[in-house]
């Protein structure tokens, strides 16, 4: 055990969030710096346009600032909470405006990414690798439906239109993909 200078950058996520909520400039800057690329990445994945993604990402930080009080560390990490906020805002933002067909196959954009950030070679990175492998193992049509729904924020109806399939089929593909992934993760958890 040793004392060490502990810059703001090393502070736990939830304390940075508290600093943002309290209007502390230094902690707010650190919070935005720590999460901006993740937030912007999630926004970009859904809206696909940098200008609109910036608007969504800004709204997400604003919402985090306003609603820091409802963050409950027992229910998940700050990253999970903040990216959920971002995802919802992004889905809302594109809901009315998306006219152009969405490129259906960006699977590698998601799956090719190396784990970044402080996770390094941690359990989190290992489990992300397992999840990527499980997605790759899905039947191709299920993988596409999953990417469109989970990463691009398309409803089953929109997936159906994009893929030229009945709505019922789109629903089944999304559901089958998610249940299969959940089962894979569950079995890994059971073994470990």
């Amino acid at each position: 055990m040793a004392w060490r200078a502990r810059p703001v950058d090393g502070f736990p996520d939830d304390l940075l969030l508290a600093g943002l909520a309290s209007g502390d400039a230094e902690l707010s800057v650190a919070f935005v710096r720590r999460f901006q690329s993740r937030v912007f990445g999630v926004a970009m994945a859904v809206v696909g346009d940098p200008r609109q993604a910036e608007d969504v990402a800004q709204q997400a930080f604003e919402r985090a600032w306003r609603h820091a009080a409802v963050f409950d560390p027992r229910r998940g990490s700050v990253t999970t909470w903040l990216t959920a906020i971002t995802h919802h805002l992004a889905v809302d933002a594109v809901r009315a405006r998306r006219a152009a067909p969405v490129n259906p196959l960006d699977l590698e954009e998601v799956l090719g990414a190396a784990p970044g950030g402080p996770e390094g070679a941690t359990l989190a990175a290992e489990s992300a690798a397992e999840l990527r492998a499980a997605i790759r193992a899905l039947p191709a049509e299920q993988g596409r439906a999953l990417v469109l729904a989970a990463f691009r924020g398309l409803t089953a109806r929109e997936v159906a239109e994009s893929e030229g399939i009945p709505v019922g089929t789109a629903k089944t593909r999304i559901r089958s993909a998610m249940l299969r992934l959940a089962a894979v993760l569950e079995s890994k958890r059971g073994r470990s």
Partner: protein, 210 residues
């Protein structure tokens, strides 16, 4: 319980978990979940999967100036008020005080137990000169805010309940308001005592329990 409502709910579950449902369908699904633990568990499982899927999305650097624009947008962010004596510790105390007040930072549904951190004051005599904070997410780390009047070597003792020293370390402070972290040893540590190079105690206080 399984019936037509469950079948319908499970059909909606993936989109509900992905945050894609709205209007009537969302209301319908949520109403069913209220009274159906089995469907609730399925949606919770799928929502947990969505959390993990989002973590796969590659980070993307936002355009230049994003950080400034965000900070401008959330207007009340301001340079920390320099409270005479010690700014950072006061800010920390205010922040954690709000947590203790119940309704962590501005009146909401959460109360004390879910506040992200607990704090206890560091005192010099009866003067509040800093805080020891313990984050609920990192209970193995003690975070110390302390107003250090002058540069110099500080010795920090982590004390057990009976006053014996569980761990002792030194830190070269540069003076001013400082913020450090220290890993908590396995022993139960009840309090912290910080002394200057001459051995005079500059601050002491209890370690809060998350």
């Amino acid at each position: 319980m399984t019936g037509p409502e469950c079948t319908r709910c499970r059909e909606l579950a993936p989109e509900l978990a992905l945050g894609l449902l709205d209007g009537q369908e969302r209301a319908e699904a949520l109403a069913h979940l209220e009274g159906c633990p089995a469907c609730r568990a399925e949606v919770a499982g799928l929502a947990g999967l969505h959390d993990r899927l989002r973590a796969l999305v590659p980070p993307v650097e936002p355009p230049a100036g994003f950080e400034e624009r965000v900070l401008r947008r959330i207007g009340p962010v301001r340079p920390r008020r320099r409270v005479p004596g010690w700014g950072r510790a006061a800010a920390a105390a205010a922040l954690v005080g709000a947590a203790f007040a119940g309704g962590w930072l501005a009146g909401t549904t959460t109360t004390g137990p879910s506040a992200p951190a607990v704090a206890a004051p560091l005192l010099a005599g009866d003067r509040h000169v800093g805080d020891v904070l313990v984050s609920r997410s990192r209970p193995d780390v003690l975070s110390v805010y302390l107003e250090v009047p002058a540069p110099g070597r500080l010795t920090c003792d982590l004390l057990r309940q009976d006053g014996t020293v569980a761990a002792s370390t030194v830190y070269d402070a540069s003076g001013g308001t400082e913020w450090w972290g220290v890993e908590r040893p396995a022993d139960a540590v009840a309090s912290v005592r910080i002394a200057d190079a001459a051995g005079g105690v500059v601050a002491s206080g209890k370690v809060p329990r998350p």
